[in-house]
Amino acid sequence: MTERNRLEAGGRIDRSHPLEFRFDGRSLTGYRGDTLASALLANGVHLVGRSFKYHRPRGVLGIGAEEPNALVQVARGAQTEPNVRATQLMLYEGLEASSQNRWPSLAVDLGGLADLASSWMPAGFYYKTFMWPARLWPFYERAIRRMAGLGRAPAAADPDDYDHMHAHCDVLVVGAGAAGLAAALAAARCGARVILADDQSEAGGQLLGERYEIGGRSALAWVSGAMAELRAMSEVRVLQRTTITGHYDHGYLIGCQVFREPGQPDPVGVPRQRLWKIRARRTVIAAGSIERPLVFPDNDRPGIMLAFAARAYCNRYGVRSGSRVVVVTACDDAYRTALDLAAAGVGIAAVVDLRPSGSGHLPRQVRARGIEVLIGQRIVGVRGRARVEALRTQSSAGGAIREIACDLVAMSAGWIPSVHLFSQARGELQFDERLGVFVPLGRLENVVCVGAARGTASLRGALQDGFFAGQVAAQACGLAGREEAQDIATVEPEEAPLDWRGIFGAASLGGRQFVDFQNDVTVDDVRLAVREGYDAPEHLKRYTTAGMGVDQGRTGNINVLALLAEARAEAMTTIAPTTFRPPYQALSFGAIAGALVGPLHAPTRKTPMHDWHAGRGAVFENVGQWKRPRHYPSAGETLQAAVDRECLAVRRGVAIADVSTLGNIDVQGPDAEAFIDRIYCTRMSALGIGRCRYGLMLRQDGMIFDDGIAARLGEQHYLVSTTTAGAASVFAWMEEWLQTEWPDLRVYCTSVTEHYAQIALSGPRSLELLGPLVDIELDAMPFMSMREARVAGVPARVFRLSYTGGPGFEIAVPAGRAYELWTTLFGAGERFGIIAYGTEAMHVLRAERGFIMVGHETDGSVTPGDLGFEGRLAMDKPFIGKRSLRRADLLRLDRKRLVGLLTQAPDCVLPEGAQLLDEPIDSPQSAAPVAMIGHVTSSYFSAHCARSIALGLVRGGQARLGDTLYAWVDGRAIEVTVTAPRFLDAAGKYAYG
């Protein structure tokens, strides 16, 4: 055995499995079953970190989730994780950890100078000091940020795996201590499906650190028996190392299970963490309690520890945290620390009791061992800086100060129930005078707190609580309770009450008395904040930052609130604690993301021709979940050069595009005609079979929602196309109207987007190309019509229409035949010099023609009239949004209206989104605010027009043709001329040449 503070025997560590680890570069040893904290203490390492603000030396305070000081950086590289509580980190072979918030080293930390300056750094220091001059704030902020912060975030992507699990149960029990095990047993014996979640590496809760007995045998033997029984039941699931961290509506709870620590090797392929999403019919919260620290000058020195932690390190890990111990207490419970440590052979210097008397059975046992007990004391300070050397105490009545030499101070001011999960679920809390803490007020409909989590002090009470709650929960799930709690008989003598008011006995002494260790908040800070008017718990919290560290004030909040009540000279019952919100313990991004990272982050939709596009070097863009070819650059070609080439092919020859991603909705039924008329603001019912029409869909408020072509396939049969991104929402919108407003319409809608693929053939030579391949007379097809045909033998719907404003066809075929047809068409087109064009060219081509694009020219606040469509509205029929179009605001003449915009310089392409002004302004510093009268919605360089073109929305634009406006771009005004929103004449030539 090499650890100097490891006891010869005892504890629940596996002494047959020694482990090597490193802390701040030092090689140390421990055992399997140790936490990093217990292993460090076994090696005599108390100084483990520096505090956040004053860089004071800090040691291990607690033993679990409450730990505010022992935060370490674990592992290296991409797996490194900051702010890990050493008290929860299970030791593994090769673990590397380092202390945080110190430079150059833990022992010599220059940041510690802040401690010397601390009297000039009270609460609100940053708010008060760095306000002036305001222009220096960026400098201050950089300096403060360098000083502040705890660990370092990893710089590379997390290489570990994480996963998610959904689970359902009748009864979720949170915590596998005495009360939780009793609840799980009682519920399970009634036949309930039970999940028992516990954050420790093994069940037992506080019992793991005690030497209690249950029913005449060791409490841990009872725990083993209970666990064996639970594990044997098929409907019980036990989750160790699982912290339930969020409690939401309707019995929904989130927990995080840890399988491997940061940097721990993975020999068997388990994830590092698993996020549990649990839906529980009933929840029993047996989350235990956290010991409350005492408040006295320099109570943060390394070697000052919570009393339970001190005996639990001894009982559970076989570690003596000191060799000469003083126990300081305001309750009887801490006397157990003196008894347990003395039984392990540790020297106890004295027990210092703040209460005026100490006469219960525990003080009697301590005295009987010959240990000195001082009563009616107050602690005036300690000696020692990097490690406590002596405790200084005097009678609360005054008098001589006695200095007791020691290397460990074990302190207790009673216990704080862990009500976080109860409060998260909106459970109310009330102040308990006897315990001096907030406890749950009753229970919620499906949630109850048991044991220490509801302030039950005794083991017997915790067991009874648990058994009862487990049975009630099972019964509430319709299961018969048939278990009596007969095997829990344990007798405990009464303990003398806590004196929680006494814990501030030293508060008048001054000095640095910490209430929030992690955020360095002192008694003086709280009092100053109250004097300055921050006397509500919420304000106090934010002003002093008490409770805002990663420990969320688990040890400190209650003392902060008690001080607040004292400073306000009011009773604690007038204080409402700040609301607990999820998460109880921080979740890693990895756990939240689970397996949904990289290619699994979102589904990818590909058209049947995707591989062809990829093979031709297409550059893809994401449109919703679809991958669409944006352009097909030749070797070394820029985006603009490729787009120019593709656009000119469409205008001069023939080009082919994949338009399969546009939404297609098949609408059928006896009332299909009426339905189609109501969803478009243009007339559709007049459409003959085989004819197509462009239409706009409006929301009830009159704003454009989506657009597309409707084709009439039969008397009662339409095909509605939508934008790529709007397909799902248009379909859902149709279903909504049919189900909720028009249930009388006999219409059936089916999304057929993926059933068909659609190919656009565009350009003056498209007819020449397609004609020989089809079994119909294309020449006879009018513009905006549809015919069923076979194209190169493939059954197809041939549409004579285009989104380019020039001649063209679109061919829809079953998705499974699309690749074949595409390659056939491309092969047949080679003698015409066919090329493929992408979405970028489509955008330019439609803008040349003045076709709008939903999402560019519309933004949810644009009406058909704003785009110049008023003449095509069918106001003599009902349609969605019709009445709104008559609202006075939508009839204003100065609404923004679609126009074309041309710059003076033909090669100047305006940025989309640029604001338009009536007057040029010299500089952004111009004194007067400038009215923005519109903005650029689409802007491209058009190779066909041999110049830049843009569309925009301009206030009263219909009356401003020919006017000069100014686009504000990068700090200067660019002159633009307003034109009609169309750049081609009837012959397809540039109209303003």
Binding site: Y248, H250, Q739, T740, P743, R883
Partner: protein, 94 residues
């Protein structure tokens, strides 16, 4: 996260549903007869009650059916679900 009892599929997580806002907003039979204020009220004004609230929900990632939910906005309790077009249950019915 709410557990919503879809009348067709049974209880499912809230993430499978989409809320369509307050229920029982009657679309005017003759919108053309309404003045702008009355139409604006129909379009935009909702009661936003504290307590019992009738809402429309659709089981988007399930049966895609719309139905009504009577929910208490304070306790988040779902008191009942009922068909589109049915009258809202009166206080005390649950």
């Amino acid at each position: 996260m709410l557990l919503i009892p879809c009348p067709w599929c049974g209880p499912r997580d809230e993430t499978e549903f989409t809320c369509g806002g307050e229920a029982h907003i009657v679309t005017p039979r003759a919108p053309e007869d309404l003045d702008d204020e009355a139409w604006g009220e129909f379009l935009y004004l909702r009661t936003n009650p504290k307590g019992r609230c009738a809402e429309r929900w659709v089981h988007t990632h399930g049966c895609r059916r719309w139905f009504n939910v009577l929910r208490d906005t304070v306790t988040e309790r779902i008191l009942t679900v009922y068909e589109v077009g049915a009258r809202p249950p009166q206080a005390g019915d649950d």
